[in-house]
């Protein structure tokens, strides 16, 4: 029996603003508990929300970047539930008229993207491991409470963990490019829940879905989804029902545990938030926001492919790392050879960045210096092997590529007199092979070339060597 997974994602993105969604407390991560709070975000009696203009714009930027339709009007709603992280006992969110409506991104349909406020942080104490179960009490810190949050919901268009991971990687890069969020999973500014269901391949009807909560890296999301698909498929294979549940994925054991089962549907009693008025972005404002967006990763990917003839994988990986792509484009322009530039950037240069932890434009190996090295290789003044040594030296030595090549003695022996002498030496040392060559074993050209290269310490230009050899061997 073959099974098909159906996956939809709910992504919460904390937006980059100076202040919170509905009050003007700083929106800042990592401050001492309960220092970025006020009567509004502590839900004191009589306090009223006032929506943050920049948060709305940030959300619109993301919506535009994800190809969403921006409705003429959106409104705010109250989502009612009691929990210590929710001081008003309702979250201001958007229910039936979200800021951003249906869109499409990398072929995955976006259902909606709506603005809401983040909850407070609750620390469970006295239970030993910080988990809820068995804790003695909870301490609430309201600093995060009210942080602008964009909830992005996709249609169930994804079919596997790896696909979800790729989608999320591109989504994150796109949101980061808009400037709307830093999308840092570790700080929780990007949080992903996945709804997973499994059905018989070819079936139209959806299976029972389970929700995977709060996975904190894309790798774990991929693995968690894969584990959940296996779990559900095994149940179905065994003829057992999948029960609707919220699950937690533990990457250490690669296993899932049930956080809660749905016995009763939630009843959030949504209704229009009477303390706020609708948002109606004007067409002119939307045009201005769209015009001010930088080139987004998917667009850049296409352009890198088209303009520089880069392979898909190279174009995608460059587009996902805008700094590196910028570096690449600068380098390609200076060197006049996109393929060579791409090889350097994806190879030696990336390895150097990984090792040094620096960002592309902070590297001592500037595009101009690296272009110089590429030119030397193109001229045949240094071999590609030698060039790697020159590159390594450039990192700590400000001298230019030519000077370093010289200093390291890596200059290619290109002039025919010097090379001719070496060729003559090699031929003189191998009379048997010379005879065999002349007798028709022309493949021995490789042997002679190797000997010459060796004798030159790798500095000989292989093309020049071969032409000299042919000349000397007469054929």
């Amino acid at each position: 029996m073959s099974w098909e997974a159906v996956i939809g994602l709910e992504i919460h993105v904390q937006l980059r603003t100076e202040t919170k969604m509905f009050c003007r407390c700083p929106n800042r991560y990592g401050d001492p508990p309960n220092t970025n709070v006020c009567a509004v975000c502590l839900a004191h009696p009589g306090m009223l929300p006032v929506a943050n203009r920049v948060a709305v714009d940030q959300a619109l930027r993301v919506g535009l970047a994800l190809g969403c339709r921006i409705p003429a009007r959106s409104k705010w709603d109250r989502k009612n539930y009691f929990y210590p992280d929710s001081p008003k006992a309702y979250q201001i969110s958007q229910y039936d008229e979200p800021l951003c409506a249906e869109g499409s991104f990398t072929g995955v349909r976006i259902t909606r993207a709506h603005l809401e406020e983040d909850a407070a942080k609750t620390i469970h104490i006295g239970g030993g491991d910080g988990r809820i179960a068995g804790s003695g009490a909870s301490i609430v810190d309201f600093n995060r409470c009210g942080t602008p949050l964009l909830e992005i919901v996709t249609e169930p268009d994804l079919r596997g963990g790896a696909e979800a991971r790729r989608f999320l990687t591109l989504l994150r890069a796109t949101i980061v490019a808009t400037g709307a969020s830093d999308c840092d999973l570790e700080k929780g500014s990007l949080r992903v829940d996945a709804n997973v269901s499994v059905r018989r391949s070819g079936d139209e009807e959806l299976g029972v879905k389970c929700e995977l909560k709060n996975m904190n890296s894309f790798r774990f999301i991929e693995r968690g989804i894969a584990a959940e698909i296996r779990r559900q498929a095994a149940l179905l294979e065994a003829g057992e029902p999948v029960l609707q549940a919220t699950l937690h994925y533990d990457p250490a054991s690669d296993s899932l545990s049930v956080l809660r089962t749905k016995e009763e549907a939630d009843d959030y009693r949504y209704f229009a938030e009477p303390d706020l008025v609708p948002v109606e972005p004007s067409p002119a404002h939307l045009e201005a926001l769209a015009a001010a967006l930088p080139e987004l990763p998917l667009v850049r990917m296409d352009r890198l492919r088209a303009a520089h003839g880069l392979p898909d994988a190279t174009a995608e990986s460059l587009a996902l790392t805008p700094g590196l792509a910028d570096y690449f484009e600068e380098l390609a322009a200076l060197a006049g050879d996109a393929r060579a530039a791409a090889n350097w950037v994806m190879g030696e240069f990336s390895a150097h960045l990984n090792a040094s932890g620096s960002d592309p434009h902070a590297s001592t190996v500037t595009p101009a210096r690296l272009a110089g090295l590429i030119a030397l290789v193109a001229e045949g003044a240094v071999s590609s092997t030698g060039a790697k040594q020159v590159f390594a030296a450039m990192i700590d030595d400000p001298a230019d590529a030519a000077a370093l090549t010289e200093r390291l003695g890596l200059g290619q022996v290109g002039d025919t007199d010097a090379l001719g002498a070496i060729v003559d030496e090699v031929l003189a040392a191998s009379p048997a092979e010379v005879a065999a060559y002349r007798g028709g074993k022309v493949q021995l050209i490789g042997f002679f070339t190797g000997q010459v290269m060796k004798a030159s310490g790798g500095r000989a230009d292989p093309k020049a060597v071969q032409s000299l050899l042919r000349e000397r061997l007469g054929g």
Partner: protein, 486 residues
């Protein structure tokens, strides 16, 4: 100098005494504090006073110099957040709560140099029409202590009627300013929704709540409105008033087209109230107004719509009282039990009733039939008013169908209590301004006359109220007001 009597003293009158240096700010404040000491033990209009702060403010004004309205005392409904001063909204659940901010209206009063005398009693969370739902005991009606002062701003109305404050602020969600003003024989204005900031005003029903003034006459009401109606960026639904408040001078109603929505009176009006209402309508004609009859075909559904919308909004607004961050907490082994026990102990019966109704009306499967339908009725009521205002400058109705009633008369019959708001709550549903002025006595008790106008027509309402008030010559001082006129 003989001890200053505060009975019948208007805010404008008090300011004149200060201007003439007949009294200092401290002497004036002391006179009110003495009056409160003398009679509020019986009346229970104030939940608490803070004489030290009051006198310190008065002293500062005496020393720093004052002008205009500066130095005139005021009383504040306990629904307004007052920084560092306990604010309970008449509820146990907020006992001991000291706000860390001032409501915008409190700030506005302070900016204008008004001196707060203290916090006034009210129905718990403004839910009620008699002030019997205060967790701290009811307020009595200065006209007859066996009767309720109306509500929910009963303390605010009683204090002004009894000379405990020259004026006061209350809130009106379904009639909570106009009805107690009527029961206590004073003037009360519910401004257009959005005219006054709700920032720091403990919320009951956000789309209906509005702050407004109580005073002995219309000019004082206008003056206080001019102080509190201002733009506040902290309230997204606040727009202030489009034109400055004019102190009314009108002496007649010439050129005004008024109308009585006659169909509304079918709801039933006590005979004494009806007679005074008709007499006052006649007086409008005598003053030069053209008075017609009209209808508000959907306003009859207002009571039902109101008692779905207000509790629904309240059920969310009051969810924050959970024992976690402030106010009462009843300990329990887990947090949800703590919420339930705290709210069980902290809320009174009427509040619980309305939270139940609101929670039910919003819940899955019932939303459309109840809340959604109520909001559609609201649209129809707004249209009714809009249509009427195409032809008329203002509409006239009794403020309440009865005069003040005895304690306990409606306490155990919620529907009867709700029905007392029948003439006031359509105005809230439509977000309109409504002014109640006393128009005479029925069986020795004050009767309120309500003037309703289109949104932001406060100046017109105040002018009409002023002209009528001059003609009616109602004496707002209760006859047997405790120590009598002094």
């Amino acid at each position: 100098m003989a001890a200053l009597s505060t009975i019948g003293l208007t805010a404008e009158g008090a300011a004149m005494l200060l201007d003439a240096r007949a009294v200092s700010c401290v002497e004036l404040a002391e006179a009110y504090l003495r009056r409160i000491d003398a009679v509020d033990g019986d009346l229970h209009a104030f939940l608490r006073t803070h004489p030290e702060e009051t006198l310190a403010r008065a002293r500062a004004l005496d020393e720093g110099g004052r002008s205009g309205i500066e130095g005139v005392p005021i009383g504040l409904k306990d629904l307004f957040s007052t920084r560092g001063i306990e604010t309970t909204a008449g509820s146990r659940i907020l006992e001991g709560f000291r706000p860390i901010i001032d409501a915008d209206v409190v700030e506005a009063c302070a900016d204008a140099g008004l001196i707060s005398l203290g916090k006034l009693n009210m129905d718990e969370f403004a839910m009620g029409s008699s002030t019997e739902h205060s967790a701290y005991g009811p307020t009595r009606n200065p006209w007859n202590q066996a009767l309720v002062p109306g509500g929910s701003s009963g303390g605010s109305a009683a204090a002004v009627a009894a000379g405990l404050a020259p004026w006061s602020l209350g809130t009106d969600t379904g009639g909570s300013i106009r009805q107690p003003a009527a029961f206590c024989g004073i003037v009360g204005l519910k401004p257009t929704y959005g005219a006054v900031s709700r920032y720091g005003v403990v919320a009951f029903a956000s789309s209906l709540d509005q702050v407004g003034p109580f005073a002995l006459n219309v000019r004082d009401v206008a003056l206080l409105l001019s102080i509190i109606a201002r733009n506040d960026p902290r309230d997204s639904t606040n727009v202030g008033l489009p034109a400055p408040v004019e102190l009314p001078e009108a002496e007649d109603l010439k050129g005004l087209r008024l109308a009585v929505p006659r169909d509304q009176l079918d709801a039933g009006v006590d005979a004494g109230v009806a007679a005074l209402f008709e007499a006052t309508v006649e007086r409008c004609r005598a003053l030069g107004a053209e008075v017609s009859e009209t209808t508000l075909p959907h306003a009859g559904h207002g009571l039902a719509a109101y008692y779905l919308i207000a509790p629904s909004e309240a059920s969310a607004n009051l969810a924050r009282y959970d024992g976690a961050r402030y106010g009462l907490r009843v300990d329990a082994p887990d947090v949800h039990a703590m919420y339930s026990e705290t709210r069980r102990a902290g809320f009174g019966a009427e509040v619980k009733r309305r939270i139940m109704i609101g929670t039910y009306a919003l819940s899955a499967g019932y939303f459309d039939a109840y809340y959604g339908q109520a909001q559609r009725v609201r649209t129809l009521i707004r249209r009714d008013f809009a249509k009427a205002f195409e032809q008329y400058d203002a509409l006239l109705l009794p403020t309440a169908p009865s005069v003040a009633f005895p304690f306990g008369a409606k306490l155990y019959d919620p529907l009867a209590m709700y029905a007392n708001d029948v003439f006031t709550l359509p105005v809230n549903l439509a977000g309109l301004p409504g002014l109640s002025i006393p128009c005479g006595l029925a069986d020795g008790l004050p009767v309120g006359f309500q003037i309703i106008g289109p949104a932001f027509s406060e100046n017109r309402l105040l002018a009409i109220g002023h002209a009528l008030e001059r003609a009616i010559e109602f004496d707002p001082v209760p006859p047997r007001i405790l120590e009598g006129r002094g």
